[in-house]
């Protein structure tokens, strides 16, 4: 209940921003920050709650992006329906990769390598086959209307990505208060102990990959709607995989608000560095790398945990009560 109220408050606050301002810079920032939140939350479902570190979440992102683009360009689908198809397809790809890896008991760095390899395979396939537009990529025709998910102002995009982020937040809140979420965390903490008391780790990890893949696919679909263009490098390149996992790790894995905080912090940082060192392309990745090292060394539970610790110190009694409820 507390989580739902917090999510409602968050949606209300962020949802008001486009009403209060129509500054393109601000709205663009909010939109891209929310987009980064969505990627981080998608990764968090599998990596944070499930403990399965994927280095190739771009696989699901790219699948979502391409399905969104292809459904419109080749089949003439409405983008809102295409979004559902994009999410379902990337979820199915998640199921496929998950079934394959977990069937053979791949864990830790092996799972990370398999996801990385799959993203690379998909990138090369997308480069070679005609229906993805090969190296040229796919471009969406410009048809501005709400029904077409192409908005005249940034406000429309902010609200649609906010909707997707809300979906991800609700899913995460559900993980925190459901049997599936409890099982997922149990498998993360100790797979053998979980098996002994009736948890089927294969099934649990598989569904986590499906959910995580579906959310990531929504991120890809959104990307295509905003930029109206996708190519194999953008879709399946390592950039998105890194952005998703760094956001979640920096903010705090396996928490509800960690990925939101992390993605936002990184986004501010990336914008600042881009303004300072605009002449160096890719400098934000260098900064991400440094931040990741520092966080893993000094705040392994994520930036979000710092605030929590302060809150507990300030009000030890209320914090204790919170745990009891």
């Amino acid at each position: 209940m507390k989580d739902i109220r917090a999510i409602a408050l968050f949606v209300l606050l962020v949802g008001c921003i486009p009403v209060l301002t129509d500054s393109g810079v601000v709205l663009n920032f909010v939109m891209m920050a929310l987009y980064a939140c969505l990627l981080a939350q998608a990764w968090n479902v599998l990596g944070g709650f499930g403990g399965q570190f994927s280095f190739g979440h771009a696989l699901f992102f790219g699948t979502g992006a391409y399905v969104q683009a292809m459904a419109q360009v080749h089949a003439g689908w409405n983008p809102w329906f295409a979004l559902v198809l994009a999410m379902t397809t990337s979820a199915a790809v998640g199921g496929f990769v998950g079934a394959l890896s977990f069937r053979y008991g791949l864990k830790g760095s092996y799972f990370a390598l398999v996801t990385l390899a799959f993203a690379e395979v998909f990138r090369i396939v997308a480069l070679s086959v005609p229906f993805t537009g090969a190296g040229v990529g796919l471009m969406l025709p410009l048809r501005e209307s709400v029904g077409n998910m192409q908005f005249a102002t940034r406000a429309g995009y902010v609200w649609s990505i906010l909707g997707l982020v809300t979906l991800a937040l609700c899913l995460t809140a559900w993980l925190r208060h459901s049997r599936f979420g409890a099982y997922l965390q149990a498998v993360r903490d100790n797979e053998d102990a979980a098996r002994a008391i009736g948890v089927n780790p294969f099934k649990v990890k598989l569904w986590a990959t499906v959910l995580s893949g579906g959310l990531m696919g929504a991120g890809g679909a959104f990307y295509v709607q905003v930029f109206q263009y996708i190519d194999p490098g953008l879709a399946f390149g390592p950039h998105t995989s890194v952005e998703a996992l760094v956001g979640a790790i920096v903010g705090g894995m396996g928490t509800l608000w960690g990925p939101v905080v992390g993605a936002l912090a990184l986004h501010v940082l990336a914008d600042v560095t881009r303004n300072l060192f605009g002449q160096l392309p890719g400098i934000n990745m260098v900064v991400y790398g440094c931040v990741l090292v520092l966080i893993v060394m000094f705040v392994p539970r994520g930036v979000g945990s710092i605030g929590q610790t302060w809150f507990k110190r300030a009000k030890p009694e209320t914090a204790d009560k919170k745990e009891n409820t």
Binding site: S178, R179, A186, D189, N190, R195, A196, I197, G198, D320
Partner: protein, 250 residues
Amino acid sequence: MSLLEVSHVSRAFGGLRAVQDVSLNVPAGSLTALIGPNGAGKTTLFALMSGFLVPDSGRITFDGTEITGRAPHLNAALGLTRTFQIVQPFASQTVRENIAIGAHLQHVSRNEALHAAETVAKRVGLFDQLDKPASDLTVAGRKRLELARALATKPKLLLLDEVLAGLNPQEIQDMLPVVRGLVTDGVTVLMIEHVMQAVMNLAEHVWVLAQGQLIAQGSPSEVTQNPQVIEAYLGHGTAARLRKTQQEAT
């Protein structure tokens, strides 16, 4: 009526025959023990019974169902749950959450599972520590948690792998009534135990495993006087030497 029937089960790891042709029947409602020197294959036998390992040959039947080689989570759902010798808490979670994961086998709802966890915690004496992180528990606390988590699945048969190992004499004294209480409540218990005080105190029937083979069985006092058992523990010829010294003394 036997709840668990193990017949002619063997398992080898390469050239090492860890369990060889072991057969035993655990009667429903009993409290029995499996003892043996280190490396005898006790934990391997538990792993075979609970499904963590698949036997090379032989059959295992639980409650009328053949479960040879069945996955552990399916066995847990049938009512056969094991604990681990090296305690395996879900370290990032509280005691309550740890136990609730076991309780989820019976309850889908999170609230019901958390509530059931409280009841179980009371039974094993963890009630005061429900909201502690599992990683903060002492060794004795972790052993209790291991037991509580397994108990929360409402098992018919509980396989306890050295729940008393690493505890001090006082902690063992505190734990004995908890284990006995399980049987009173209708749970069948088979335990691996090195603490002989506990075995003598609790078990109705004891199996002795040495080098993968069942070498003796019977009541605790019968088994401890069995020359083969003494030799398995203390080395070849010891039983004869002991008898000699005893005879000379009398």
